[in-house]
Symmetry: C2
Amino acid sequence: MVIRILLVMVFSGFILSAAIADVPPPHLSLMPLPASVQLGDGQLLITQKFTVGIAGYKEARLERAGRRFLENLSRRTGLPVGLDVGDPGKATLVIDADHASRAVQELDEDESYTLEVTSRGAKLNAQNPLGILRGLQTFLQLVAITPDGFAAPALKIEDRPRFPWRGLMIDVGRHFMPLDVLKRNLDGMEAVKMNVFHWHLSENQGFRMESKRFPKLHEMGSEGLFYTQEEARELIEYARDRGIRVVPEFDVPGHTTSWFAGYPELASAPGPYAVERRWGVFDAEMDPTKEETYRFLDRFIGEMAELFPDAYFHIGGDEVKGKQWDANREIQKFMREHGFTTHRELQEYFNARIEKILTKHHKRMVGWDEVLSPSLPKDIVIQSWRGQKSLAEAAKQGYRGLLSFGYYLDLMHSASQHYGVDPLSDEARMLTPEEQKSILGGEACMWTEYATPENIDSRIWPRTAVVAERLWSPQDVQDVDAMYERVEAISLELDELGLRHLSSEKRMLRRMAGTVEIAPLLVLANVVEPLKEYQREEEATKAGITLSRDAALNRLVDAVPPESETARRFARAVHRLLAGDLRGGATEAEIRASLEVWRDNDALLQPLLQRSYLLKELIPLSHKLAGLAEAGLQALNYRDKGELAPADWTAAQSAFIEEAKKPQADLLLMILPSVYSLVESVSAPDSQGPKPAPQPGSTP
Amino acid sequence: MVIRILLVMVFSGFILSAAIADVPPPHLSLMPLPASVQLGDGQLLITQKFTVGIAGYKEARLERAGRRFLENLSRRTGLPVGLDVGDPGKATLVIDADHASRAVQELDEDESYTLEVTSRGAKLNAQNPLGILRGLQTFLQLVAITPDGFAAPALKIEDRPRFPWRGLMIDVGRHFMPLDVLKRNLDGMEAVKMNVFHWHLSENQGFRMESKRFPKLHEMGSEGLFYTQEEARELIEYARDRGIRVVPEFDVPGHTTSWFAGYPELASAPGPYAVERRWGVFDAEMDPTKEETYRFLDRFIGEMAELFPDAYFHIGGDEVKGKQWDANREIQKFMREHGFTTHRELQEYFNARIEKILTKHHKRMVGWDEVLSPSLPKDIVIQSWRGQKSLAEAAKQGYRGLLSFGYYLDLMHSASQHYGVDPLSDEARMLTPEEQKSILGGEACMWTEYATPENIDSRIWPRTAVVAERLWSPQDVQDVDAMYERVEAISLELDELGLRHLSSEKRMLRRMAGTVEIAPLLVLANVVEPLKEYQREEEATKAGITLSRDAALNRLVDAVPPESETARRFARAVHRLLAGDLRGGATEAEIRASLEVWRDNDALLQPLLQRSYLLKELIPLSHKLAGLAEAGLQALNYRDKGELAPADWTAAQSAFIEEAKKPQADLLLMILPSVYSLVESVSAPDSQGPKPAPQPGSTP
């Protein structure tokens, strides 16, 4: 048997045609890509007789993992695979861990594994159950339909993560997410080998964890939407089974309006307070000068430290404006007495006190950029929403850090944009190897102003899989086209697991339309994306609208995925055409066909838009799509004739495109840059012509 | 305000154009249709300020129902509706029940309600909480998107069921269904006002309920797949909250192999026994001659009678072959001693003994047709899989009955076929009004040889909604076209509730194809239906295949819905065309477009079929679809020229159609009868021509 040694590059799109010879390599839809893969000959057929056996170290969690694996295998294949995990002697897949992992999962635990698949069976070895969990996910992703049945290709994988902290944060403060939403997202995390669930549990808009010591926190701070401690334990257990740590965040001293609903005495200004319903940054801040504040936090953190076993505890610490502090005489007096001249110094004092409380309860502090200060011990972790520069500065001071800048899922960036963000790029690249070790990894962050249990999966997935790959796979895994191909396969796997990123859009569209016949609405939905970054807020401000939890998230902007696959493919086709693609005829026909559909769609769609309150706002958008398509078709006509377009035509198109760039219904028409390119390609260089290429949002 | 009094007829398709005047009546997508509807003027806008208040009788179940209603309303609209059920004074919807329902839901309880909606609010009145539950579902179905927002039309509904027993049976013996599958199906039942969940808990292939007295029943009879008693209580509670009774079935004395795995001493032939994996009718039968059998059943039924609060208890009693009885000398001796000459007499003896045991435990017996015998008391209930004749005979003897003949969901009949089955039709029509009262209603039955947790929803829904309407709505609600229109809306509602009948097919197709790009596969999938009745078994027998639980249910036949909506619409278009539709041109263009897609699809689909083990069997089917489409197109060409086709063409098409009728991959091509009609329409009456119209399956 000839083992062909292939590099990770093969899977990221680089084709070694000579080495592959007659049989093409199996298409490995792995995400994250493993550190190393050696392809073998043949494949392991998966039948209903497939079994899993445990050799070596045994524990109940491993058995549950084996059973869950078999359930997932059955779901992937539709085969009635037996679910008992048994005797390693006869098993198709033998899992073999050397020893137990720690009682509470720790940051530095080994997650490496070796997976060997031959046509006769498979062996999965790891130091401890964490590596087994990771390897089982790899095996599942290897299983594909072939002409002979479901099979995994013969190969040997040696794999380990690049970073030890690969997290997903979900903000359950702004919109509460029921436990089943979190569970299915933990399933998704497991599938892509993420290992930290950062549970953002308190916000101005909601305090979501039951406190037995201070029951008014959840009773008055949650509008009835909170997790019981029993549920928290259930989730922690669920996460542990999947090799995922749970790091709770209770954000202090700002973002605390919901705390003050029940305990106004903690605030820096007199109450009463009510749970905030608007979005934004607010004034409510804890009073860092009162000893009562620390007594309260000591008891509260003590209670939570017992509930959450993880060694790390997130105290937020972001966006403290200091407005209440300025307005409070006692606080001003305190600052003078302590020689503090800035809010920052007062917050540093607060953080240092909190840090001592955490240490007392055997927890290490995690906080956002703002908590960084030389007065704190070196074992705290800085989570950076500001960027690699901020991380690098912390590292140079000896602090460990996590990158979240560039991984904010709510900003609606494309998968390729997230993929391009690396914790060790930019300023962090200049760090010494020793300093680089203090960059622990990163976290994708899901803030939920515009996410509900209904659409949150489509905001998190599949883009988080791309972040997971960035944090797990070797740094040189960078091929964007190959990434998009693999994302498609992983997206299906996540759908099989119960995530709703693929299914929620249609359900929402049908609701908007009030009918099952939504084909023309889908045509429009497929080429738009939600506004990027904070443009939705900017549009609201312009329109004089106060954004809040009272606004329904049932519009098209809430239903469509953050990235338009249709527009991405169209952009690639246009790019090929303009780059002089050899298959020019076929490519142009493809482009023309798309443009014709978009041009003709408006007439089909308008009756639907007219009769629905939720669709009316799309009337001009649908017109504009038709107009853009018409412009593109005319440009193609000029190309076909080998002519440049007249200057007045170019000017008119340019003006139209400029107009179409404006956000409409909080959406962007993502085919616009490609149409612009087509128009530009037939415009005289000296014509007044199009302005610099418009780039709405994120289409690469 | 002018109230226009409209009859139920209006909603079933009969148009009163004069009465409706300028404003068209709102399209009421109600299923089942209420007994009476009076439309008013205007509509009630649904906003996030919508509230529910309880006047009159209060209980926790009503509050939970109100909250669940608000959750569903929020899901239907996407509006962030508050979930607290509060003060009736200020509520948008006031629910008002006169008094409690019984502690355990009973057969004869009142389920009527009155719902009045005006532009200012809504009132829902009922005698007891059951009527409130029914009315809340009606209100939910009234909510639709309009140009002004979500709204319910102003109207007054007075509603009550036609039959008191409207059930769904699910066989969890052949394929185990996890609790969440059952729960979402109970949600579906609630939505269409069904009130009995018949839980078929034991079969040759599995004993699914934990028994504490006889633990070997579930331990050795279930392969680990059973419900704990705790789970049973949870489900009963869940059902009660939805106004649904739970009737357990433990099928005796046949269908009992799984009992004998742990207790072979109950059998009529020596063991050992193992849980049956094949499908079919088997020999294993309890020994009705031994007192030990009755002691066992007394203790077992006693245990179950305590667990299941419902007054009725189903003992199955079907398909006893008597083979083991014939082979057992002791049993033969017993029969001689008792003067029994037939198996039937012995089973009557057994049933009479069981009936006494049930009575002792305060339960009334339900059994399939076979249990009917004058020796049993008149309070037992006969469930008929044989038909109205059988029911009518029972009624004449004073027995009450349920119809399930014509409601077997696993036989893959169309919605219209189920819709056409009425418990009081045929022989039952001739009963006296008093005798008719003993026909309590009916049950849709889901036997699960070919249903798994993955595809069962698509076998049950939406067709069960049609059975629910037949059992609830007035007998004269019969318009099939209107039914199909309303089914579409209800299907979306069921999807919103979490049922997977709409989503499972695509997931399964993607799995078969190993890719997300399944458009050509969908084209084929959309025009086929699974074989009807017991043809799948017949095909297997022909092929020498033993059908069993070991066969994977991951083929196209397992994924496609029982009824092809595409073929149904195509058949209607062809029918319009041949009937000389005034819009002939448009209709023909529509037909031509479909035929061209089907003709051209084969070339697109073949590469996909070649590379998947699960799709290979479709290669000839796809060819045949193309051939049928070509025949249809050629027939249209003759029509357009105003010519009759030559006799040899007709003969060739006829032969091809005959060939295409043969089942392939356990599927039928449902456009075949329509293509046949097109071919026939251009064939000379005297040509050898097509044979009598082929009618695969169920297309009307």
